[in-house]
């Protein structure tokens, strides 16, 4: 379960980082090359699907899919909230 959570957080982070708006919030004046953005998107999606495979194998098809769907939302919210305060935290350090 913990590995699945970590994969989901990493997957959403990559998907968020692939968006120019979020990228520029984290890396000041940073430019995200188009190819890198696409690669990050695919890698992010793969990690999200990897979490599904782990959960289905560990929890069974019904509980696995349900836990994945719930964790998908919660982990995405966690990434969104982290991104909200991350620039402030980075500039403070």
């Amino acid at each position: 379960m913990m590995i699945a959570v970590l994969l989901l957080l990493a997957g959403w982070s990559l998907l968020a980082g692939s968006q120019p708006r979020q990228f520029s919030r984290i890396v000041r004046h940073g430019h995200l090359p188009n190819r890198t953005g696409i690669a990050m998107r695919w890698a992010g999606a793969a990690l999200l699907m990897g979490a599904l495979v782990i959960l289905v194998r560990g929890e069974g098809p019904s509980f696995g899919v349900l836990a994945w769907a719930c964790l998908l939302s919660i982990s995405a919210m966690a990434v969104a909230l982290t991104l909200a305060w991350l620039p402030k935290a980075i500039s403070a350090t």
Partner: protein
């Protein structure tokens, strides 16, 4: 009519949200608490904080059955004790139609003292699907309408969200309150969308026989019994009007187990108790499956012979039970239970921020035009959001303050708790009207104080303080409620401090909001 489809959806989203937002918040809040209804029951009924016996004999349920028999109940439902609800709970209707609930020790079968509360199982849980409005089933219909409108809000919200992918992770708390509120509304709405849709749809599907009765009438006409028999394998028989004693409960459960293969029952429902035609409905607990599946076996209460075992359910019934299971969460999975709780809170944030955004985007314009709309909605929003939290906490504090068996002005203890809940909620609304924008700060402080008081009162009146409950495995449900209350204390205090600080920093804004 609006000029474009998107504008029409925007109008629909805005006004259905404003009109039903308060009710939706109440339903979501109570539904979220219902995820831990049994744990709240343990907190509010200290006598039920018992350990499960290592070897449970179903015969321990005999005193509960005898109590129903003495009350001449036509049927008695007996809940089998389990990890979350470690007491034997017997429920029946008395001969005069009044409802009775008694608790029994799972080790000895002795009756526990009346706890004098409806707690979560009989107040908070039914509130989220009936609003406790029983007249003409009005509550069911209002909640059903809210469920339908929640789906309308989800769909229209997606349609009007122009940059749904670009804004996927966008929450900018540093921006002006209006923008930050909309960001939070979008994040909670878009990222929690699957949960919001599933929980609304499943809520409607559970009560499909009420909301969509034509689906049954089309095939079975008015014969509800035939539908119950074919869909769920239900069985009924009339009383023989001859006295007879019930066979051993262990033998009844053994007979049911011979059908299931594995699994324990979650309840025993005795029809015609004390009669020669007594029959016992034994239902397999759905702890190990998502579906709220009904594996029902009917056993003759006098001979112990099997009368009927449910046939394989029809595909429509299987689908309905699976969707119902997604909503009921009767399965034993603590991670999922906490995830449901978190997503339920996200739903509350979604509704609250939607209402707040409406108020913030109209406050200035309405003030200039001399309209009272924004002020009225602002007050109702405060009462709907912080007001219901205060009322819930007042309900819990009252539970710990009132002595067992206490009554006032002819009102019994359970009713006093409920009167306090509604009275405090009404006072929160009045306070919001009188205080304007300052109401948020005041009500956040009230939440903080009441949540802390609830924890302290629990420790004082039961001796189950946090250190003790954390050390004892069987008291973890109580510890969980106490820790959640302490977290509420801290969060509410932080919000109150931040709001008070921003009011000081921007006196002009606070003037506008009445601070």
């Amino acid at each position: 009519m609006e000029p474009t489809f998107r504008a029409s959806m925007n109008w629909l989203h805005t006004w259905s949200g404003v009109v039903l937002g308060s009710l939706l918040f109440a339903i979501f809040w109570m539904g979220t608490l219902s995820v831990f209804d049994k744990e709240i029951d343990r907190w509010m009924m200290p006598a039920s904080r018992l350990a499960l016996p290592e070897q449970f004999s179903y015969e321990t349920m005999r005193p509960a059955y005898k109590a129903a028999l003495a009350a001449k109940a036509p049927a008695v439902l007996m809940l089998v004790p389990n990890e979350r609800n470690p007491v034997i709970t017997a429920l029946w209707r008395n001969a005069d139609g009044s409802f009775a609930q008694r608790l029994f020790d799972p080790s000895t079968g002795t009756e526990l003292p009346d706890q004098g509360t409806f707690a979560a199982s009989r107040f908070i849980y039914p509130f989220h699907y009936t609003l406790n409005l029983k007249v003409f089933g009005l509550g069911y219909w209002i909640v059903g309408l809210c469920g339908m409108m929640m789906m309308v809000l989800c769909v229209s919200g997606v349609v009007i969200h122009r940059k749904i992918f670009a804004d996927f992770f966008t929450f900018r708390p540093e921006r002006k309150i209006r923008r930050a509120t909309l960001d939070l509304h979008n994040v909670a709405g878009v990222l929690g969308l699957p949960f919001h849709v599933v929980i609304s749809v499943s809520g409607l599907v559970i009560l499909f026989s009420l909301y969509f009765p034509s689906s049954i009438w089309a095939v079975y006409r008015q014969d509800a019994r035939l539908f119950g028999r074919e869909a769920y394998g239900s069985y009924v028989r009339p009383p023989a009007r001859q006295a007879a004693d019930l066979v051993s409960f262990d033998a009844i459960v053994a007979k049911a187990r011979s059908v299931w293969g594995r699994g324990e029952p979650n309840y025993l429902y005795v029809f015609n108790p004390g009669d020669a035609a007594a029959c016992v409905q034994v239902n397999r607990a759905s702890e190990d499956v998502v579906s709220n599946i009904s594996h029902v076996v009917y056993v003759d209460g006098v001979t112990g012979e099997m009368l009927s075992a449910n046939k394989p359910e029809k595909p429509a019934a299987v689908t309905q039970r699976f969707i119902a299971g997604l909503h009921f969460i009767q399965f034993r999975h603590w991670t999922l239970r906490w995830l449901y709780f978190g997503l339920g809170l996200a739903g509350c944030v979604l509704i609250a921020t939607g209402l707040l955004f409406w108020v913030e985007s109209r406050r200035e314009r309405h003030r200039k035009l001399g309209r009272s709309g924004a002020r009225v909605v602002a007050a109702v929003t405060v009462a709907s959001v912080t007001g219901i939290l205060i009322a819930t906490l007042a309900f819990m504090v009252t539970n710990r303050v009132l002595p067992l068996g206490g009554s006032a002005f002819g009102i019994e203890r359970p009713a006093i708790e409920i009167v306090v809940f509604h009275l405090v909620w009404l006072l929160a609304l009045l306070h919001a009207f009188v205080s304007g924008g300052r109401a948020w700060v005041g009500q956040c402080w009230t939440i903080s104080v009441l949540a802390l008081a609830a924890v302290l009162l629990n420790a004082l009146t039961t001796g189950d303080h946090l250190i003790r409950t954390l050390a004892d495995r069987q008291l973890w449900p109580v510890a969980g409620i106490d820790i959640t209350l302490l977290m509420a204390t801290v969060i509410a205090a932080c919000v109150a401090l931040r709001l008070a600080r921003s009011a000081l920093a921007d006196p002009r804004a606070s003037q506008e909001t009445g601070a």
